[in-house]
């Protein structure tokens, strides 16, 4: 055999699992993105007492497919005075960064592309932050005022909030003692507690900062439609626009996965070490079966026959998944599949809960003003995050050097951090009050700045 061909075969033999996983991620994430958009529209409709998309498929279930087809066949416009090369490059950068960083995330104990990178979590954050270049370059290349304003805002916002998010992650990493994704989850299993309970302040900071990092309401200033049309995406259409959109939603999945891995116990089920809670293992199968049963119930109420069939199809798919989740539990030779399958279920469930929180906040809170956003980041979140890193560090020292109980040490330091947070908030209120009283009466007053 030709030596090069042989080398290729050896390469494929070693890496085929990783290659297939990478293809699965690139293929599945756009589909998930489409359905996240549908979920978002449905949730928004529900919270605003509307129905949301109902026309394409039963309850609008085929809407994402129709949207995708529409975006693919739409005319692809490049503005005359745009910088063609950078205009072409920017959406690709945005999407590639988000999808690449997903490669290092462990979706369950047995599904990850890049296995056991020594700097796993840093890789995920570092590579996903490169998506910023897509936004900046796209905004510049469009040669439009709205675009460049959106891009500038976005840069300032992301650079500010990445600091806070990074410091929040440091507090979690201090507890885990490693950067490897797999080892972080194993540390939580070892301690028998999710790190969100040990470092609640860090989790809160990470939630706020990650909303700002993914440019979502109430921090969606780069694309504030009442001021900037669509921000950096204004001049984009069709497939390029879809690339941006995909990158944005993939980024949501990435921050959800990071938060899940570090703070919410990764793929572990609730109470992983408590034996009398073992009945929770049956929950994934029961849950999917219940969804299937609901689809059967709804199938009879569909207005058209084709929609009834479609509902039956969804129900059958749910039952199949439930069967796949249930069979390894009872059949002894298939027991080895349980951690992988159920891990993936719990992991995806936690990410979904996190993204649901994002959507909920989006429909609930009014948009921040830009100076409020910057003040929140620099005057409150970053000092608080630094305080929290110090607090967790002190707690670790108290535990290791002075033999304190871990819980006691953490409760004490968290209390100190919260006291510091209250102090910061009071300081901020005073500063705002001073600024509004110092402002001349003709100038637009900042007194109603919190009115929304």
């Amino acid at each position: 055999m030709h030596p090069n061909l042989h080398a290729l075969l050896v390469f494929l033999q070693t890496w085929w699992v990783e290659l297939v996983s990478a293809v699965v991620i690139v293929a599945v994430v756009p589909l998930i993105t489409g359905y996240l958009v549908l979920m978002e529209r449905k949730l928004m409709a529900d919270m605003q007492a509307r129905l949301g998309p109902m026309r394409v498929g039963p309850h609008g279930l085929l809407q994402p497919i129709a949207d995708a087809v529409k975006l693919l066949i739409k005319e692809d416009i490049i503005p005359d005075n745009a910088d063609k090369f950078v205009f072409w490059l920017a959406p690709v950068v945005s999407m590639t960064a988000a999808l690449t960083s997903m490669g290092a995330i462990a979706f369950g104990p047995s599904f990850e592309v890049a296995r056991d990178i020594n700097v796993g979590l840093l890789f995920v954050i570092g590579v996903s932050s490169l998506g910023l270049f897509g936004i900046v370059l796209g905004g510049w290349a469009s040669n439009s005022h709205y675009s460049i304003m959106g891009a500038l805002r976005s840069t300032a916002q992301l650079v500010s909030y990445e600091t806070a998010a990074g410091l929040a992650l440091v507090s979690g990493l201090l507890l885990a003692g490693t950067l490897k994704i797999r080892a972080i989850v194993e540390a939580q299993q070892h301690f028998g507690v999710w790190f969100v309970f040990l470092a609640p302040v860090a989790f809160f900071i990470y939630v706020v900062a990650s909303i700002a990092e993914t440019n979502r309401a109430p921090f969606d200033l780069p694309e504030a439609e009442s001021e900037l049309v669509a921000g950096y995406m204004t001049e984009y259409s069709g497939f390029r626009w879809a690339c941006y959109f995909l990158g944005e939603y993939a980024n949501m999945i990435v921050v959800g996965a990071v938060a899940t891995t570090l703070f919410l116990g990764g793929w572990l089920r609730p109470f992983p070490n408590v034996h009398w809670m073992n009945w929770l293992d049956a929950l994934p199968a029961l849950f999917t079966a219940a969804v299937g049963a609901y689809c059967v119930y709804r199938a009879g109420k569909q207005p058209a026959r084709v929609q009834t069939w479609f509902m039956w199809g969804v129900a059958l798919a749910c039952f199949a998944v439930a069967l796949i989740l249930a069979v390894p539990l009872v059949v002894a030779p298939l027991k080895f599949m349980v951690p992988g399958l159920h891990g993936a279920f719990w992991f995806l469930l936690k990410i979904s809960a996190y993204i649901y929180l994002f959507m909920w906040l989006r429909f609930t809170l009014p948009r921040y003003r830009f100076d409020q956003l910057m003040h929140l980041g620099w005057y409150i979140l970053i000092p608080l995050a630094i305080m929290n890193v110090l607090g967790v560090g002190v707690a670790m020292i108290l535990e290791m050097e002075y033999g304190w109980n871990r819980w006691l040490a953490l409760v004490v330091t968290t209390a100190f951090t919260l006291a510091a947070a209250l102090f910061l908030l009071r300081l901020n209120d005073k500063r705002v009050a001073a600024a509004s009283s110092a402002a001349p009466p003709e100038a637009p007053s900042t007194e109603d700045s919190y009115a929304g």
Partner: protein
């Protein structure tokens, strides 16, 4: 075999985009190619199994410094800046420095040509399992043997940051 393929790929990309970075007239294009060069260098670090340096390169240089570069370039009026002649008086200095650096690298490569793993020979990559964990090893050296220089460097950075804030602050 595969290591060599990756090495030549990353090295080629780095050199090619470095050349493009220098020759482009448009500052944003230059920035894009500088980012490509830095990413390719990060790839070489990764190929040498130096994961921490790889990710530090990406986070600090690409994700931090280059973002600020692009930010500043966007605030400059490029069409005006393009018509100005920039840095042309430094041509001979630049030539001299380049030649001196090339000579230095050449001498270094030539003098170590017999040492295995150095000089013109490509390093034989060690299997990953045999190396100690990169991040832990680095942290151990940094916070143990080189604690004082490390602290001095961080105090220096802090001073620079405080100085920047003081200078940027409005005088009232």
């Amino acid at each position: 075999m595969l290591d060599k393929v990756f090495f030549f790929f990353f090295a080629g990309v780095a050199i090619l985009s470095a050349g493009l970075m220098v020759t482009r007239r448009n500052a944003i294009h230059s920035a894009v190619f500088l980012i490509t060069t830095l990413m390719a260098t990060a790839g070489i670090f990764l190929q040498l199994r130096a994961e921490f340096i790889f990710i530090a390169q990406i986070i600090l240089y690409v994700g931090g410094i280059m973002v600020l570069f692009v930010f500043v370039i966007m605030l400059v009026r490029l069409d005006v800046a393009l018509h100005q002649i920039q840095f042309s008086r430094q041509k001979w200095v630049a030539l001299f420095v380049t030649l001196a650096l090339a000579l230095e690298v050449g001498v270094m490569l030539w003098s170590s040509r017999k040492v295995p793993g150095q000089g013109f020979l490509l390093p034989n990559a060690m299997p990953a399992a045999k190396l100690p964990a990169n991040t832990e090893a680095l942290a151990g050296r940094l916070f143990d043997a080189y604690l004082l220089p490390f602290e001095i460097a961080s105090v220096l950075l802090l001073v620079a940051m405080v100085g920047a804030v003081v200078m940027a602050k409005k005088r009232t």
